[in-house]
Symmetry: C2
C-alpha cells in the first residue's frame, strides 16, 4: 500500500536515479519532476528522465521549462561560450558549472506542485561532501529551505525536502543503487556529450570514481576513462 | 552617483510602483524584473511594467516566462476555471487567488539574476498586514529566505531581499507614492480586467481603500467603486 505521494526531482543522472530507487523502495507513490533549464545535455537527460519514470511507474510526471536560467547564464552548463572543464583534482572553489541559485529555483517549483497535488515530501539527490562543491548542495541549505516552505505555504500544508544521499560518498551511492537494483544503464550524468559520455567532465569523473571505488563496472560506455589508482 | 545595482520586482501594480519609487529615490541603479506566470491580466501588467521601467530609467529589464505556475494551477489568477472572487470583508483564511509558493519562485530567479549581474539587493513590494493574507507576503518568510540566499550562493556573494512596504498600511503606501511623485496612473492592480479596472476584486478593493483613506482620488478609471464609510 502506498505511503502517500512524493515528488522526486529527476535530472536523469546517477544520483537522482538512486534517489528514485530509495523513494520507490519506501512504497511512496512517485511524482517525477524534471527541469529543462537550457543545459547542454537536455535532450539526453530528458530521455533518461522518461526511462527512469517508466521504470519506477511514476504516477505523474512533469517537465518544467526554466529556460530563464540559461538566459541569465554565467555557467558552463547553460552558457555555451563557457567551456565545460575537465576534472582537475587541484582546482578549488566553486566550479564554472555552478548555475546560480539553481536548486532554489528547482525546489520552489517542486513545492508549488507539491502544494497542489498534496505531496508531503520532495526527494532530491543532492550530495554534499563527495561532489563539486556547489553551495546549494549542502545540508544547511536544505534545512533553511524547509523553514521557507513552512512559512511560505498554507498553514495546513506540510511539505519537507528530503536528501537521502546528502552525506553519502559516490561509491556508497553506487552500492545503494546496486542493492536496490537501480538500472544505472538508463541514467545519464555527463555534462558535455549526449551520445557517448565524455569521461572527462566533473560529473563523469565523480561517477566513474564512485563505480571504481565500489569495485564494479559502470554499464554505460565512455569515450575515455580516467586512470584511478587501485584502492580495493 | 549610483549606490549600486538593485533588482526591483515589478508586477506593474501600485505596491511595486511605490517600491520602484523608493529604490529610485535612494539613488540605486534599477534592474527591473517582471514575471509572466500565466496570470489573467498579464498583457496589461506587462504594459505597466514597461511604462514604470521607462519612468525610472531602468538600466536593464528582464521578463521571465514562468508559465509552469499556471500549468500547476490551483489559483484563480492562473486557472481560468476558478473565478476571481469579489472582495468579501467576512472571508477568512487564504483567498483563492493565492498562487502556491509563488514568491519563492519569483525570488529565486531574482537571486540567480542578482548573482550574475552583481546586484546587492532585491526590492519586493510585499505587504503583510493590510493585504490578502498570503503566507509568502509575511516578514518571517523573507527573513527565512534571506538565510537561504546566504547559504545557497557563492561565499563572496551578498544579496539581500528588502521589503520597504512590509509593515505599511495601504493608505501609507499611497502617501509614500505621492511624496515620491510616483506615477500611479501608469500602474495596474486589477486581477480581473485588462481594459478598465473592475473595482470589485481583492486587489482593486485594497487599492481603492488605500486611496480613500489617504483622502485622494485614484487616477485610473474603474467600472464600479465600492462604498466606503467616511473616515477622514
Amino acid at each position: 500500500m502506498s505511503k502517500g505521494k512524493v515528488i522526486v526531482l529527476l535530472s536523469g543522472g546517477m544520483d537522482s536515479l538512486v534517489t528514485a530507487a530509495i523513494a520507490g523502495s519506501e512504497a511512496y507513490e512517485l511524482y517525477t519532476l524534471h527541469i529543462n533549464y537550457g543545459q547542454r545535455t537536455e535532450k539526453r537527460e530528458l530521455k533518461s528522465f522518461n526511462d527512469i519514470s517508466d521504470h519506477y511507474r511514476a504516477a505523474k510526471r512533469f517537465i518544467v521549462d526554466m529556460k530563464y536560467l540559461s538566459q541569465i547564464g554565467g555557467s558552463s552548463l547553460t552558457d555555451y561560450s563557457i567551456p565545460v572543464t575537465s576534472y582537475n583534482p587541484e582546482s578549488t572553489g566553486i566550479p564554472v558549472s555552478y548555475v546560480p541559485f539553481r536548486n532554489a529555483n528547482i525546489l520552489s517549483v517542486a513545492v508549488s506542485w507539491a502544494e497542489i497535488c498534496n505531496a508531503g515530501k520532495i526527494f532530491i539527490g543532492a550530495v554534499e561532501e563527495d561532489s563539486s562543491g556547489y553551495p546549494d548542495c549542502r545540508e544547511v541549505f536544505y534545512n533553511a529551505f524547509n523553514r521557507v516552505i513552512e512559512l511560505g505555504t498554507k498553514p495546513e500544508t506540510f511539505i519537507e525536502v528530503v536528501t537521502p544521499l546528502i552525506h553519502m560518498k559516490k561509491h556508497e551511492i553506487v552500492k545503494k543503487g546496486l542493492e536496490l537494483k537501480a538500472p544505472f544503464e538508463i541514467s545519464w550524468s555527463c555534462y558535455k556529450s549526449e551520445d557517448i559520455a565524455c569521461g572527462e567532465c566533473d560529473s563523469c569523473y565523480l561517477r566513474l570514481k564512485g563505480f571504481h571505488e565500489a569495485g564494479v563496472e559502470d554499464p554505460i560506455p565512455y569515450k575515455t576513462k580516467p586512470e584511478f589508482t587501485l584502492i580495493h
